[in-house]
Every structure is written in structure tokens, then in C-alpha cells.
Subunit: 409 residues, 2 copies
């Protein structure tokens, strides 16, 4: 039961000049399911990405890193669900490379111009032969207006496809930014991984894509958490086809650069928040803002301590304004010299704690009222500096346990 | 439903010469409940302790630290349940001091010789007047053989009292080590806190108590986790009355010192493990051993990543050998240069993963068999050094969510 999330309307997803998407049923794990997606990029396109920091990263993540190290010029992306190809050793690398080579041959490009992605069960052999057999059908399906189909094609345990799109005028030309994402828990019994793909037709110096994708990730996908488990396969790509006809952006802090950044960040945030809204068992969407820190890092420490606390998350599930749990989480966040007597806590606009203690004017019914909402903002003031950070998360329900305790069959 | 835990038999709890314990019903939060406990120590006793690192520590913790800074000679401990006196600001400090002063007056000792402890709901005013009114009855109840009553008196949401006792011969004299503990979640809607109290009549240089309590904590209470939430009130005290008649221990690495250390650590581990066995909603007791690390710290990072992962814990609840989740947790534990191709994973004696990949000889039914047990050891070999660490935890069940999502009424 996603929180304020609906399936994207295909008409709202603007095609990106130079990008085509196709899907098919390859039977990777289950029959009658669109589980193989290809994204084709016209010559001259550039790609940058950020990947899981998990040291146990999956084979396709290792290959993406290798292929991107060869340069940003890419022509194709291939994504399978049903199998994460993680914890699979050398055999997993061989199978992921086999998929790249096969797709490259079909497209008459180099294998290094292909980026592979996998999501699904961990520690099982990738059935690469089924993927190879499915590639021709996926290619035949490729069209510029298949963004919604691709969003559905990369779903695993997601209950809804996730996509977002914006247009912005840059240098007199309409520039499009469209993206898709997937993920419901950071890892699931069967299904692993957060994936995000955002494409733009903006003309931009390819060297700017890596800082832009890093910034966008740090303001979106790197600021969400459902259960604190970092997947072996998490990946986020930014694609630029350079076809919009705008004067090429040569600096991210120029007027045109800032316009594109704003659009890319907005699309990325909408895609990332959609993952939280569709979080396993989620019934509430929680925004955690930490203000007045000395550094962004310490604000993030406090925000994640709150967002990861099972006690805080079960209290949100119960609509219980048990706000001492939030104070306790701030206290154990690891901010070495934190002075508890300076802390403020707000629940939406309700001022609960001042100078580290419960305000005399705070009435539990006010906290209770906010806790019953589907969307809640927790705001903590550390009152020791000017830094701030925001993280998005969801609550922790019976349904989460049910989903994750299900046997994999 | 605790995991392999039963109530202590009072006959098994050896009195500690110089220690008397008394309880009463003070009505701190609820009527007809033994919620106030005093521990009286004969003159000459010494105390050392370790306390929560939560920066939002409770008022009684702050006062314990202050009083211990004045020296180890202590005469009384007072513990209330029903209210944690945390997040209560200056008023909380005043009320905790009031309790110390009142008890000191009744015993004709200095307030600094009293150590106060509170456990229960956070962010509510401590009803210190009820505690003051209850102190005479608690004192009147004090007897050397009331360890079991005290273990019951400090319970909050614990389903069983927790106590342990051993005797060891040191220098030809029988030395006793007896302790009690409480805690079921690190924090609960109503009830907060892990508390541990271990007393010995061993004669020992008081200066050795602090390193001994630190060592014991680091091998017991600091190695357990239920939900990763560090309470505002966690406390662990080691008391020595020095009355056993053994030649005073002057070094922890002497023969006598090692004998006492072994007994104190064993009692502390039993008390700490009892908290996990009685963990909120626990159905399994899990031992996580990390071996072959470069440092103990990195072994602990990996052990806690496993022990805190909601996905690992729900898999244990489901008896699902979904072991990729364990690998993923090791991968995101933050060990910077971990080489995934060196990892081994065992479930009890079943060798699941070698060189980072699933062993060809591993059969899922073997993993399944171990997962169905009530006690399971997860062993991970990092194969990069000689350090090791062990952490104890429990699984994560529907009952945990039920307990923690209950409204506080």
C-alpha cells in the first residue's frame, strides 16, 4: 500500500531524444513476466554513474565500473530482474560479460559500450542463456515512448512502477529529463537492489556528468533508507544524449548548468522518494531534517540514526508520539560532544522539545494528531552550527516482517 | 517466549557477604508492582561502573558519573522502574538528587555514597515523592538472600527475572560473584534500559575495579544487541565488598586476578545473554563470530552489521537460509578494503560460502536444518588477519513490531 504514490501516466513521461527502450519476457526466474529491459542510446551519448559502496558488490556492478572507466561514451544498457548475479564469484563475472558481448554483437558496437544491471535473488547462478535468448525480442520492442514499459520492466517487489519527467528551457531550447527507478527494500528475500536511470537530451560537456550524477545521488538516492541495508547492486546512472540543441553546458554553476541541475535533482528526488513511498510495508512517508549542525556529516549521522531506529519506525507505524525514542536516537548517533541541553524537536509545526526537555506547552494530543498523518516531518535542531541535512524514510510495520520473513519460494 | 531461559532458582544465587537487597511497591507508574529496589553495601565496599554512551543520557546516569568521580566507596544503590527520568532536563537532575539525599539521610551516609538508577518511560517527570515514600519499606525488606527478589524488582517488560551466580576459590577462600540484570529491548514504549549489577565479596584493590568492569562489559553487555537502539539509561555496576578473606588481589593478570576475572566475566555474560534470550519477540538466540580480521574493531563492525540487519533478523525468524543477506551485511559493514573473494561463511558447522561464492557442495537443506534451531552460530572468516569478535543477538519477529507499536497506555 504505497504512500501517496500512483503509477505514472505514460503521457507525462516525455521521450528523450536519442533514447529508446524495449522490454520482453525472458523467463529469468519466472515465466510471463517482463524481466528483461534494454535501453539504446544513439551514437554520441555519454553516461556517468554511482554504484553501491557494498564491498560485496555484484558482478554487473563490477563490470559497469570497468566499462565506465574506459570512458563515458555508451550505446546500450541491459537490465534483468529475477537474479542479482551477486555472491556468484568468477562465474558471475563471466556470465555478465557474456550478456554484454552478445548485445554488442547484435548492435555492432564494442562490449565496453554496454552497461549491465541485474536485480533479484542473491547467490544463485545467472541464467545468462535465457537473457541471450530474450535480447532480440527486447531490441525489437525498443521505442522512444516506452519509458513506462521500462519502468514496469525493471520492477521486482515494487508494487508500482516509478518514473518522473520534466522539461526545462535552456538556451532557448526545450530540454527533457526523464527517469525510472525501482526498489522496495534495500534487499529482499528474492529481490535485491535499488536502480535509478535518468536521461536527458541536454547538450553538456561529458566531463560534467560525473559531478552531476554524484550531486544528484547525494540529494536523492543517497538520502533515502527503508531498512538500512545497502544492497550489493545499487546503481544510479545519468545519461546525456546531447541532442536538445541547446548551447552546450560547460559549467554546472552557470545559469544553464543550474537549470539542468535543478531538473536532474528534482527528477532524481521524485524517483528516490517513490522508492520510499513504495517501501516494504510502508504506511507513512517520513522526512527527517536535522538543522543547526556543525557539519553536514553530523546532521546525516543524526538523521540516519532516527531513520534506522526500529523503535522510532514502529512508533510511526503505531501513530504513537513516543518522541523520547527520537531523542535517544539523536543521542546515540555518534556526535561526540553533543550537548543535549540545546536540542529542539519539532513534529511538523508542533514544538515538542526545547533545551533537551519536553516543553511545558507541548500537549500529547498535538503530537498524536501529527503522528496520524500519512506524511510527517521530524525536525531536530542541534543549535551548534549552520549545517543541515534531510533524509527520507518510511515506517516499520507488521507487513515488513511478513514480506521479509516469507520463504523465497 | 524467551529462548532457553528460565527464572533463577533463589537457592542457586549465593549471597555476597556485605550486600543486602530490598524491594517494595512504590507505585511509581502502576500500583501493585515491586518497582523500587535498594541495594545496601557495608562500609568499605567499592563500586565501579560503565554507562551508556548516549549523549542524551538520563539524569540518574549523570549523577552516577558525578558520584563515582568522587571515589569508589559507596554504600547504597537505589533503582526505580516505571520512569527513566530521561529527557527531563534540570528538573530530572533535581529529582534524582532528592532521592539520593533522602536515602543518605535514612542511612546516615553522604549523598555521594548513593548511586541512583531509573528505568521506564522517557520524557515524563519522575514522581520522586512516591519513591521517597517507598524508601522505608524497601530498607525494611533488605536481606542478604534477596537477590531473586531484586532481580524481579528491576524488571520492566522483561518476561523473566535475570540472575547469575558463581563461586570460585581464591587464595584458599571461597569467593562469590552474584549479579542481576534487566532489559528486553534497548528502549521500549514505556520502559527503557539495560541494567546490570554484579557484586563480589573478593578482596581486591579498588583501583582494579574500573578496568575489570570495563573488561567484563566489553565481553558481555557491550556485545549484545536486540534492535541496535542504545538506551539513555544503560548502566552496569561492579561492586566489591572485600569481605571474602582472600589475600587482596593486586593485579588482574595474577593467578588470583585471572580467577576472579573469569568468574566476573562468566556471570556478566550469562546476565547479558539472558537479556538477549528475553529480547522483545525473540524466538532465536544468535551468536555472531567474526574471525580472521585485521583488528577487533573491524570484526565488531561486521558482527554488528549482521546483528542489526532487519533483513538478516527476519530471515532467522523465518528459519530461511537466505544467506546472501549475511554476505551483503558484511559487505556494507564499512571495512574499507575488504576483499570479497576471501570470505568464508559457516552456519554452525555447515560451510556455506568459500572465497566469496556459494560452495558447490553446499546444500540448502543443510542450511535449512541449522536455521530451524533455537540457537544458531553464524561464523564469518575474513581471512586477512588474526583478530576475532563475538556478538549475541536475537531474531526479529512479528511480536517485536507488536510490542513496540503498542501505544503506551
Amino acid at each position: 500500500m504505497p504512500v501517496n504514490l500512483t503509477a505514472p501516466n505514460p503521457q507525462d513521461l516525455h521521450p528523450v531524444a536519442g533514447v529508446q527502450l524495449g522490454t520482453t519476457m525472458a523467463g529469468v526466474r519466472k515465466a510471463n513476466r517482463r524481466d528483461l529491459t534494454v535501453v539504446l542510446l544513439e551514437p554520441g551519448s555519454s553516461v556517468a554513474g554511482v554504484f553501491t559502496k557494498n564491498r560485496f558488490c555484484a558482478a554487473p556492478v563490477q563490470i559497469c565500473r570497468d566499462h565506465l572507466a574506459a570512458g563515458p561514451a555508451k550505446r546500450a544498457i541491459v537490465i534483468n530482474t529475477g537474479n542479482a548475479n551477486a555472491g556468484t564469484g568468477d562465474d558471475g563475472l563471466v556470465r555478465a560479460r557474456t550478456v554484454c558481448v552478445a548485445l554488442a554483437q547484435m548492435l555492432d558496437i564494442a562490449p565496453e559500450e554496454v552497461l549491465p544491471f541485474s536485480t533479484g535473488v542473491i547467490m544463485e547462478t545467472l541464467p545468462s542463456e535465457r537473457i541471450l535468448a530474450g535480447l532480440p525480442a527486447a531490441l525489437a520492442d525498443a521505442r522512444p515512448d516506452h519509458w513506462a514499459e521500462a519502468a514496469a520492466g525493471i520492477m521486482t517487489t515494487d508494487t508500482l512502477p516509478k518514473a518522473a519527467s520534466r522539461q526545462v528551457v535552456i538556451g532557448g531550447k526545450t530540454v527533457t529529463v526523464t527517469g525510472i527507478s525501482k526498489g522496495a527494500g534495500m534487499i529482499r528475500p528474492n529481490m535485491a537492489t535499488m536502480l535509478g536511470f535518468v536521461a536527458t537530451d541536454a547538450a553538456i560537456d561529458p566531463a560534467l556528468l560525473q559531478p552531476l550524477v554524484t550531486e544528484a545521488a547525494n540529494r536523492s538516492f543517497n538520502r533515502i533508507t527503508i531498512d538500512g541495508d545497502t544492497s550489493t547492486n545499487d546503481s544510479f546512472l545519468l545519461i546525456a544524449t546531447h541532442q536538445a540543441g541547446n548551447p552546450a553546458i560547460t559549467a554546472l554553476d552557470s545559469v544553464d548548468g543550474q537549470a539542468l541541475r535543478a531538473a536532474v535533482v528534482a527528477v532524481s528526488q521524485q524517483l528516490a522518494q517513490a522508492i520510499v513511498r513504495d517501501g516494504e510495508g510502508a504506511t507513512k512517508f517520513i522526512t527527517v531534517c536535522i538543522e543547526g549542525g556543525r557539519t553536514e556529516d553530523e546532521c546525516l549521522q543524526a538523521a540516519y540514526a532516527i531513520a534506522h531506529s526500529p523503535l522510532v519506525k514502529t512508533a510511526f507505524f503505531a501513530s504513537d508520539p513516543n518522541l523520547g525514542r527520537i531523542l535517544a536516537a539523536v543521542g546515540y548517533a555518534g556526535i561526540a560532544d553533543l550537548d543535549q541541553t540545546r536540542i529542539d524537536l519539532y513534529l511538523d509545526e508542533v514544538h515538542v522539545v526545547h533545551q533537551g526537555g519536553r516543553r511545558a506547552a507541548y500537549r500529547e494530543e498535538d503530537g498524536q494528531r501529527v503522528m496520524q498523518q500519512a506524511e510527517i516531518t521530524v525536525r531536530v535542531g542541534l543549535n551548534r552550527g549552520d549545517a543541515a541535512a534531510t533524509v527520507w524514510t518510511c515506517d516499520f510495520s507488521h507487513e515488513y516482517v511478513t514480506i521479509n520473513a516469507d520463504y523465497r519460494s
